[in-house]
């Protein structure tokens, strides 16, 4: 039961991060929101494994963390390499 409620609360946090990702306004705000969404999702996956009673599949959370990190680095790299006009706002 406890795990279920933790899952729901983490979903709320993920939803809020998504709102920030939709709203922007600058590219960096979006990257921040995506990064935060990713870390909270890793935690969600970990808790969800316990919620369903089969917590042996935490490898997915690890891969998720890894891909999320590499994704953020890649976005930064490519945003840097395209010379941006002004403040990086949309």
């Amino acid at each position: 039961m406890m795990f279920g409620f933790s899952c729901l609360a983490l979903l709320v946090v993920m939803g809020v991060a998504l709102v920030r990702a939709f709203a922007g306004p600058s590219v960096y705000d979006r990257i921040l929101a995506v990064n935060m969404f990713g870390t909270k999702t890793v935690l969600f996956l970990a808790v969800f494994g316990f919620f369903t009673g089969r917590p042996d599949f935490l490898d997915i959370a690890l891969v998720y963390a890894l891909i999320n990190f590499i994704g953020v680095i890649a976005v930064l790299r490519f945003v840097e390499s395209v010379t941006h006009t002004g403040t990086g706002a949309d």
């Binding site: 998504l18 990702a21 995506v34 969404f37 969600f44 599949f57 891969v63 891909i67 680095i73 945003v79």
Partner: protein
């Protein structure tokens, strides 16, 4: 109760993300949200018990697709022109099609019901007999590598064919840029990232090996492991430079390895035929059919992992070298 609530929230978030992807006009923002969309669908796959699929989607779908779209945007530019024609005609077409499909769902078997027709045929046999017949607990791996081995072989060939297509279309520019020397009072770019990726990359590769060989018992296998291995090199390329990555693993080495992976897969099939079995029937590989299946699955998963890892690295090299160094002369 909580389960269906989580399900509904996740699906709603997915729908909202897809809508945001379409509404934005900065292609970088679109790509980022598309990455979120992929990762979110991976979470939904976990929630729907499809851990292997989630693993693949997180690694292949979210990681590689996003990376490729980003490196394409470097070449094509990231601002979208406003469409000249109004949205009304496509909107009408889409709403009509959607309405018809939604009407069709009313006859669908309900989500989660056990009497859904797809649970009646073939699947019960896999679920009941595969742990006995193949001897490995992960049913998805048994079906993927053994029962439907032809299918997976075709898929590996498709991935290889895509590599050939990409290399034919854009190629890899292996010309070295002049090495930049840093004077003593000037720091190299991204020092923090470089140090941490140096520390991290060996563990990522170790984790890839774990995923490769643990695929029989948990989620994982050649596809996922290959992509994670490629992700380590991609991280290296991103934090250092393309030339450094070429020094580390040259495309000259990778190209034959991609073909060797496919050959290992096909060769396993040939060996089973030579030993008197049918193509890709691993039971003949050892005296005991179960150990034979084990050896066979290990061999073909290795082939899959090798091909996928090298293909992903080569495709990434191709896109990034096109962006940084221009056309192949």
């Amino acid at each position: 109760m909580i389960e269906s609530l989580i399900n509904i929230i996740l699906f709603t978030m997915l729908a909202a993300t897809s809508l945001a992807v379409v509404r934005l006009h900065n292609l970088f923002a679109i790509t980022m949200l598309f990455g979120v969309y992929s990762l979110l669908s991976a979470v939904i796959f976990v929630e729907l018990d499809a851990v292997d699929v989630a693993f693949t989607e997180a690694a292949v779908g979210a990681g590689i697709s996003t990376m490729l779209i980003l490196s394409t945007l470097v070449i094509t530019g990231h601002h979208e022109k406003n469409p000249k024609h109004g949205p009304w005609l496509p909107l009408v077409v889409v709403i009509l099609t959607g309405a018809v499909l939604a009407w069709g769902t009313l006859d669908m078997p309900l989500f989660g019901s056990l009497d859904n027709p797809i649970h009646q045929h073939v699947a019960p046999r896999y679920i009941q007999d595969s742990p006995e017949e193949i001897g490995i607990p992960n049913m998805v791996t048994s079906v993927l590598a053994s029962y439907r081995g032809y299918d997976t072989m075709g898929e590996v060939v498709v991935v290889f064919a895509a590599l050939i297509g990409v290399l034919a279309l854009i190629g890899i520019n292996e010309k070295k840029c002049a090495k930049r020397q840093y004077s003593s009072d000037e720091r190299p770019p991204r020092p923090v990232l470089q140090v941490m990726s140096k520390l991290l990359i060996p563990y990522i590769m170790l984790f890839a090996l774990y995923v490769q060989f643990h695929g029989d018992f948990g989620p994982g296998g050649g596809f996922q492991a290959g992509v994670i291995f490629a992700a380590a090199i991609i991280l290296y390329t991103l934090t250092f430079s393309l030339d450094d990555a070429f020094d580390l693993i040259s495309p000259r080495v990778l190209r034959p390895l991609a073909a060797i992976g496919v050959l290992i897969y096909g060769g396993t099939g040939i060996v089973t035929m030579l030993l008197g079995g049918t193509f890709l029937n691993y039971s003949v590989l050892a005296g005991d059919p179960k150990s034979g299946q084990h050896y066979g699955i290990l061999a073909i998963e290795f082939g899959v992992g090798l091909t996928v890892a090298t293909v992903m690295m080569l495709i990434f090299y191709a896109f990034v070298s096109r962006g940084e160094k221009g056309k192949v002369e």
